[in-house]
Symmetry: C2
Subunit: 198 residues, 2 copies
């Protein structure tokens, strides 16, 4: 037997969220029923507003509720360094560190022949025009440390090489706090490779 | 750093769902951003509709999108047996079994002095008037097998005793497929107590 129709529909909507199974969706739907009318209306409004009011920043492609995102429009940031990332989540992760003071460039994915994503689907053209038009000195490529991220990093670095700016890549190595015993061979190899004098 | 405001608001709304922490809420919010405008609008609409169109059934208190729920208005069901449960979730669990063909009565909770819930907050008065007005022969009390469920079952059975109808309680015992080794002592005691000839 199914739930009453409006509840069933809500459960199905919750099922479309990433990582939500049927039982979890049922629990969420009942949470909504436990809300007041106002809370439910605010929840629905937040969904609508997130879709309607958030757009990619015209400069870097990061999420923004204006034309330029908060980072690009921040005069205190160093405009000579651009950190190239796959998506907004990477921007958030790096911003949490509070170490990097440059700008970002969100590619919107990585080169992945498996998923039919080529360089032309990414915001690489926009990256080149940013480099050409400005005083960029360094490009830090911070795509994820996997094959596709690596391929994309190589592709961009080759493309940018003739422009004569410095291109760097995040350091590979053993994660802080991890146990060497559980590190995979590739990571250990890279950590040895990139060893530094103390 | 926080996310852009509309996203931050949506994340906070997802955090109000039962069992959702901040990281999970962020994942869900990004899922919403990945939806099309139509999908997001349908999602928001489903939340509004669930709150607006679902009401307790006038007879049994089960969730319904009309005045009477699908079970109470089903002429094929046996109106002489009422199964008393804590909430709608219990109705759904029992309906899945496809064994019970009577009606339900949803209490809307259990007697719990810890949470300031007394008998007057539950739909016990409505239960008594259903018994008084009709041809109910049996009351199956199916509150959860814990102290509060047990207390509520005892309370109702004492209240109903003078009315001369049969009052039963779901059987306690070891769950099918379980391992005796892992059954707790109370359950094993009840299982021994309720042993049946084979």
């Amino acid at each position: 037997m199914e739930y009453v129709l409006p509840l069933q529909k809500l459960i199905e909507k919750f099922c479309t969220l990433r990582g939500v199974g049927y039982k979890t969706a049922v629990r969420y739907a009942f949470s909504v029923l436990d809300m007041s009318e106002e809370e439910a209306a605010e929840f629905a409004g937040a969904i609508i507003s997130a879709k309607r009011d958030i757009h990619p920043c015209e400069v870097c492609g990061n999420l923004s509720d204006g034309e330029e995102c908060g980072i690009c429009s921040d005069a205190a940031r160093d405009k000579s360094v651009i950190c190239v990332v796959e998506d907004t989540r990477a921007v958030m992760a790096l911003e949490k560190v509070k170490e990097f003071n440059g700008l970002y460039h969100v590619l919107g994915g990585v080169i992945s022949p498996m998923n039919n994503v080529g360089p032309e689907q990414l915001r690489i053209k926009e990256l080149l025009s940013r480099i050409n038009s400005g005083d960029v000195r360094e490009l830090i490529i911070a795509t994820n440390p996997n094959i596709e991220g690596e391929t994309t990093a190589m592709y961009i670095s080759k493309l940018v090489a003739p422009l004569g700016i410095k291109v760097t890549r995040l350091a590979y190595g053993v994660p802080v706090g991890a146990d060497l015993e559980y590190a995979d061979e590739m990571t250990l190899m890279r950590a040895l490779d990139g060893r530094r004098q103390i």
